[in-house]
Symmetry: C2
DNA sequence: GAATTTAGATACAACACTGTATCCAGATAC
DNA sequence: GTATCTGGATACAGTGTTGTATCTAAATTC
């Protein structure tokens, strides 16, 4: 009866934290709805159930709040990523399933791509913001590169270019398709988007490159090897 | 001496057209600089050397002007595309060179990607605008799909998915990388971007899919076959 | 429980932008 | 050359936004 109905009094710190949280949540909603540029400080405060005063006593400006919002989004993505891939991997199929889950999770969340797209648009013109965003993106890139390497080891294949490059390509493709879907759902429907993505994964990751010298290294399911790799990266 | 120094009098129609042209040019500049959302009608008019009155007597609002701008951009892209690919193709190498030229041309133009990105952001939230943009994008998609098919015939390969899908993927990748480069030039430099793109082209277009049944169909330079295909699609 | 902090509301002043209404001057028509 | 037309300038009213300055009520401290 205490946690829900009897709303316990919050001390200063808790109250402040709650306000920040609400403002951040509200900003995510409004940014997705109206876009960062056209969102006013008042929009955010009002959606969160406060007035502008509350906003300015918690953040210096809209941009600072956006950075904080993205930092939290990043943390969530990281958490989910680690949650999925820290467990020892049995085989390639399982890995593919997991990556599929991961991306469809991100994909399904409508806020996801639009929010990051907004961020990138802001970054194009805001030097300082760009530097911050760069850090976030590089983190994710490294994460995905790690996944790509794990995949390559699991499947015992090489892909003809560095894991880092593939990571960039993969992220670019995901985002590109996501956007295409979002601003032209007629021609780029869900099914199409997913097909392209999974096709890309299969085609690019596990393909022998130097066609004239090495024969196609088939996908090999070596459970022992897989487990070794997985626990190592753990 | 007449075309440059002696500025000949323009009749109404010509004058009007000139004004529209200047407003459109100016809008491209300002949209890239400040973004569509934060660009005011006054910004556009002033940059073009006019006042708001001129703007409103030529366009109903900012969005209508943006559509017109994109329509013209589309025409330019189409023109360039046809200019490159209508000539009979000798062989795969030449084709690859051409596609490389084409994309580096688009890529080099700083305005290009940012402008289209702005458009997509607008499309996410504006139903009517989205419908229009959809048409533009579908045109380009078809164009690229056509190229993919030509490529497949020239190289005598199959790629495991439809040309239309590949076109979507290719456009998505291009745009994604472009954006990544633009908002994080430190980690995604020009060289990297180009490498990834060309690697994608080579890897995805000419790769045998069903790894277990068909051996890798090598890239075959068959000049005669190539010419036949090229002239046919011409 | 009185004094002190402080989170957040309210009020305010300075701008910026839009869209329209009005006006003017040069181009065209007769 | 006079009348008309129209592209574009100017003025204005209305609305939205920002950042700060002030106020209040609750939370903390003693």
């Amino acid at each position: 009866m205490n946690s829900e109905t009897t709303r316990q009094r919050l001390n200063r710190e808790q109250s402040r934290e709650q306000t920040r949280e609400r403002l951040l949540d509200a900003s995510r909603t409004v940014f997705v709805q109206k876009g960062f540029a056209l969102t006013s400080v008042e929009d955010i405060a009002a959606t969160a159930g406060y007035t502008r005063g509350a906003f300015y006593s918690n953040f210096t400006d809209k941009t600072e709040l956006f950075v904080e919002l993205l930092r939290r989004e990043c943390e969530n993505i990281d958490r989910e990523f680690h949650h999925l891939f820290q467990a020892p991997l049995a085989d390639v199929v399982e890995l593919q399933e997991k990556i599929a889950n991961y991306y469809s999770g991100l994909y399904g969340d409508g806020a996801f791509s639009v929010l990051w797209m907004e961020a990138k648009i802001v970054a194009v013109r805001d030097e300082k913001f760009r530097a911050t965003l760069s850090l976030f993106l590089e983190e994710r890139r490294a994460q995905i590169a790690e996944f790509v390497e794990t995949y390559a080891r699991l499947t015992n294949t090489q892909s003809g270019t560095s894991a880092h490059h593939i990571a960039i390509g993969l992220m670019a493709l995901c985002e590109g398709i996501n956007i295409a879907h979002r601003c032209d759902p007629q021609n780029v429907d869900d099914k199409t988007a997913e097909e392209i993505l999974s096709w890309f994964l299969k085609t690019t990751l596990a393909m022998p490159q130097q066609a004239e010298q090495s024969p196609a290294a088939k996908v090999v399911k070596t459970k022992t090897a897989a487990r070794r790799v997985a626990s190592k990266s753990n």
